[in-house]
Amino acid sequence: MSASAPVIGRLPGDQRYWFAAIAVLLLAWPFLFGSFWARIGLGALMWIGLAQSWNMIGGYAGYLDFGHGAYFGIGGFAAGIAMVQFGYPFVVGFALAIVVAAVLAYLVAVPTLRLTGAYFAIATWALAESLKQAALILEITGGTFGLSLPRSPDTFIGIAVPFAISETFFYYVMLVLCTATMLLTYYLFERHEFGYRVKALRDDQDAAESLGIDTTRVKRQVYVLSCVVAATFGSVYAWYIVFIHPNDVLAPIITDRMVIMALLGGLGTLTGPIFGGLLVFLLQRLSSVFLGSSTFYLPLIGVLIMVTVLFAPSGIIGILRGEVGRDDVRKNLKELGEKFDLL
């Protein structure tokens, strides 16, 4: 966690202790609660990272990417193909996932980012679906049989590592990836000039253009960055889950979840995806245990989204920050009531 030291350094005193406590808890997590909770923690970290990757393009840049899950799958298949078809270790697969995702995202970005709003959403959605179809037909992805990845000790860096490639190992890999994603988002979007450019083009593209911002270039950069981040999680997930199939890792539900998490947490905020990701992931995982049905979380999330959009467009973060108070809800309800004047 030494990389986060500069962040902590800038925080006020009491927040510094919170940060330290959370860092210690996260580091000790698998040893404190055992392998079941390590698995839960691993999933939560992955989804928080994925939600953040969607938040970059969807929240900060305001481009609703409904095909983002495809890059998760591409990362998975890039790593899978490198390990299974060519016999490379995971680190090579990981690098390949980054390269493939970056190249593809750039090729997609050039024509697709000319579209905005719903058209961008449809085009990216269509792209993701056709990639899934292609993965089902192609031979290199295993087609309808899927791919089984090796997980022996020498598959990490090529020579045998002295520790087990276990759940605990994957927990720490996800922890590193998720922390890196958070720090990257913090520096690029909250501290760096780049973030201000991105937000400017989201709020008013023409105005941003007139201030000398090359919006096309910035949009492409954000898109490629967010896609690469999703692909890195995909490659680790593929290795962790051992067996990947186009119907699993390229499923539209993956994109849906990222969107829902980022939205519920608060679009275009650093910490929003953490809250949204935790909430949705836990709802989904615990749905079968506490709600008596493994799918009941879906309608629940649907209602949550509608209520959020209606009354708290800035998400959980907005409520926590006090942007959405009781008066706002009352005002909203009153205005909503007036719109039911139908006769």
Binding site: G62, L64, P111, R114, L115, T116, G117, A118, Y119, A121, I122, A123, W125, A126, L127, E129, S130, Q133, A134, L136, I137, P252, D256, V259, I260, L263, S293, T295, F296, Y297, L298, P299, L300, I301, G302, V303, L304, I305, M306, T308, V309, L310, P313, N332, E335, L336, K339, F340, D341, L342, L343
Partner: protein, 297 residues
């Protein structure tokens, strides 16, 4: 050598399939172009309509056709009550109103899909019908399956009724005025809430009853919606945003592409080919293949 008998049968199937898509595309195009509502729930209306057919048909002597009037009424009422919510989301002092509208209907779609999945389970159900079975064999051409023919006729007549209402009645004029300029329409004394609700209700009713027809043609399953959402978007892109007559051509193009790809290339490649076409159209001719819609940006 191309088999002529097979060829004409493929054309027939494609045209009738196109008729089914027209049914969905009409209402969606209306909502998209006139109301500026980008509705991700369109496929889920189809799905819920099909499930209403599957659940209610046994109560009406196992005849799906009799369910259609009920579906029309229920969907109109529900749609009319959903529209004010969407209107509220897309107006007012919130950031990115149109994106919020998109996200709202996305939530609605998740709610409907998840709700049906939770209540009825993941299995598909049949929508029974004894009236619409078999096919009419036309010598020299091929067979016209009755269900698909009736569905196609239903879709095209739905379009004609919509066009008549929009261009020949006072209510239609009010809706077109709202589409031009919402604020000015209100200043002219139009109750915009009422007419927007009528338009959205009509769209929901048509889409839901299309769902019953689709249920009778294929079956009803909780996961079927996504495909029709995609097709509805494709039709609007092909037809040109807000240009209703283009919907027929878009439906025919979609249906023919699908049936020809399935026979001559591969059933697995249908979506790939469709997506490729859509992508090219979006990028080359953003106002639809006829170039008469609003510019897609």
């Amino acid at each position: 050598m191309v088999d002529i008998g097979l060829f004409t049968q493929i054309v027939i199937n494609g045209l009738l399939l196109g008729g089914i898509y027209v049914t969905i595309g009409v209402g969606f195009s209306l909502a998209f172009g006139v109301l500026e509502v980008v509705d991700f729930a369109v496929g889920e209306y189809v799905m819920v309509g099909a499930f209403m057919g599957a659940v209610l048909a046994p109560l009406f002597g196992a005849e799906g056709v009799f369910v259609i009037p009920i579906v029309l009424v229920v969907f109109f009422a529900v749609g009319a009550l959903i529209q004010p919510l969407i209107h509220h989301v897309t107006t007012g002092d919130r950031p990115h109103p149109l994106l919020m509208g998109l996200v709202f209907t996305f939530g609605l779609a998740t709610f409907l899909r998840g709700g049906v999945l939770t209540i009825f389970g993941p299995n598909s159900q049949d929508v029974p019908s004894s009236l619409l079975t078999g096919g009419i064999a036309v010598p020299g051409l091929g067979t016209f399956p009755v269900v698909r023919t009736v569905t196609a006729v239903f879709g095209v007549s739905g379009l004609v009724v919509f066009m008549y209402y929009l261009y020949r009645t006072r209510g239609g004029m009010a809706i077109r005025a709202i589409a031009e300029d919402r604020t000015n329409a209100r200043l002219m004394g139009i109750n915009i809430n009422r007419y927007q609700s009528i338009a959205y209700g009509a769209y929901a009713a048509l889409t839901g009853s299309a769902g019953v027809f689709i249920g009778m043609t294929f079956n009803a399953s909780p996961g079927m919606g996504l495909q029709y959402t995609a097709f509805a978007f494709f039709m609007v892109v092909l037809a040109g945003m807000g240009y209703l007559p283009g919907v027929i051509i878009a439906g025919v193009v979609l249906g023919l592409t699908q049936s020809f790809t399935a026979v001559y290339i591969s059933g697995n490649a249908v979506l790939l080919v469709l997506f490729a076409i859509i992508y090219v159209v979006l990028l080359v001719s953003p106002a639809g293949i006829l170039g008469k819609g609003e510019w897609a940006t």
